[in-house]
Symmetry: C2
Subunit: 251 residues, 2 copies
DNA sequence: ACTTGAGGCTGACGTTACGTTAGTCCTCAG
DNA sequence: CTGAGGACTAACGTAACGTCAGCCTCAAGT
């Protein structure tokens, strides 16, 4: 007569539990296997039979699973009513927050890379003139005028060529960083020589202005972003190598 | 004499590459196996030998891997220089953003649950008096006075008892929702009878005020939050069941 | 020439939470 | 009694390696 007793007598097959709870039969098998949710009893035919208690436990399991908790953690939680659920939730919350922070950083990185990639086709004049504008602050107007003059008659192809050469040098330098080569090494200095040659197509830096250009690469956020896409720390590495080059090779 | 040619003759063993790039030897084996990064050549002793080109490719691979991209996606990207990296990055970015949104939602859910768990010990008076305050707006001051009178001499244990009974009823009702039981079912109505009995320890609702209490459960955000922790939609289900109960059982 | 230690190689299992067959057995309605 | 529908176990597949285990190779020292 007691409705509760009638209620707890009720049994469910795997399929019924699966449909009621929305999980697959395989999941129930799995939870049985790992001991996360055992059926109320097993028939002598091997069938699993669940009761209301198991349904409630399953509901809890699914709640925690929905929070991306690992099954063994969930097992700890649902196994004992004395387990500190609040503590477990707080710990898990922390994990999620950190995950989120990491993901935010990744998205930022992607945005920077995208900006770089998308700027690349139109990077030619834009990049170079940006360069010139910044240079004005450092060595006065004359150099910039020279640069503008020298590039006056340039065709698209020539701009592309310059960009390709820059890209090659930057890539090769990234590799040298990876290899741990010091900036004084022959390989690196050879690359800087190429770099100097490219720069010289706009204007001719000297012992003072060439290292200053390197420092500008480090200081200007716009340049930094471009370099960091190749390799973190490339700007500093390049600047140091340029300084060395100027000391040894420039009058 | 050309530094580039000297550079590309240089070979590296797995250990060297591993140390230069920071990945494990096993990872290099794995990348070779799946064809993501093959060594430049293999010695007749079976040894893997890498060159600068592979190092650069590996650097790219690690960049994309650092963004949580799957290796087969990365393979598409690094395999062909014509592959639209920007598009791949944008797609991946979208995935990350959605992940982040989901995680935010999870954190919110955890916060709600924590609030519920932490309120529980002090839920006794707080909860009940909150209840009363809300009740004032609906049935005037007399009922509240009655409630306050009836609970005057209650001990802590009695408050705890009431809360336990509520919790049991809510849990059992959640189960009934899971089972798809209609609110008219005997099981559900039996539970509502218990609910009515518990409520009657504070005051005695009638055919009109009992369903109104149910509606309040739905309308008040404070109550809703408590019910939603048990089961989404529990507030509405309970309200409907209470209405039914009042119609059939209350004068 | 021989040994030894460091490094390289190939399996192959473990991890996570199930999905997906495949083959067999049980149950109940007609 | 038979067929349909459901239940069972066993075992592989997934992603990206970590971690042995067992055997091979190389360079250097004796």
């Amino acid at each position: 007569m007691n409705p509760m007793s009638a209620k707890s007598r009720k049994t469910y097959t795997v399929k019924q539990v699966a449909e009621l709870s929305g999980v697959s039969i395989r999941t129930l098998h799995h939870y049985d296997q790992i001991g996360l949710l055992k059926p109320a009893f097993t028939g002598e035919n091997g069938y699993r039979y669940y009761e209301n208690e198991q349904l409630l436990t399953l509901k809890q399991i699914l709640f925690y699973r929905g929070l991306d908790m690992k099954l063994d953690t969930i097992q700890q939680i649902v196994a004992s009513p004395h387990f500190d659920r609040a503590a477990a939730l707080r710990i898990h919350r922390e994990r999620l927050v950190q995950e989120n922070q990491r993901t935010d950083a990744l998205i930022q990185t992607i945005d920077q890379t995208l900006a770089h990639l998308e700027r690349e086709p139109s990077m030619k004049e834009h990049e170079l003139f940006e360069y010139e504008k910044q240079a004005i602050d450092r060595w006065g107007i004359e150099k910039v005028e020279i640069s503008r003059e020298r590039t006056k008659g340039w065709t698209q192809t020539e701009y592309d060529q310059v960009n390709r050469e820059y890209a090659e040098i930057h890539t090769a330098l990234s590799l040298q960083i990876l290899l741990g080569s010091p900036v004084e090494s022959n390989d690196v200095q050879a690359l800087i020589k190429k770099h100097y040659a490219v720069v010289s197509r706009f204007w001719t830096p000297d012992r003072n202005s060439y290292p200053a250009l390197g420092r500008m690469y480090c200081d200007s956020p716009d340049f930094r972003k471009v370099y960091d896409v190749y390799h973190p720390g490339l700007a500093e590495y390049l600047a140091k190598a340029m300084e060395r080059f100027a000391e040894c090779e420039l009058a």
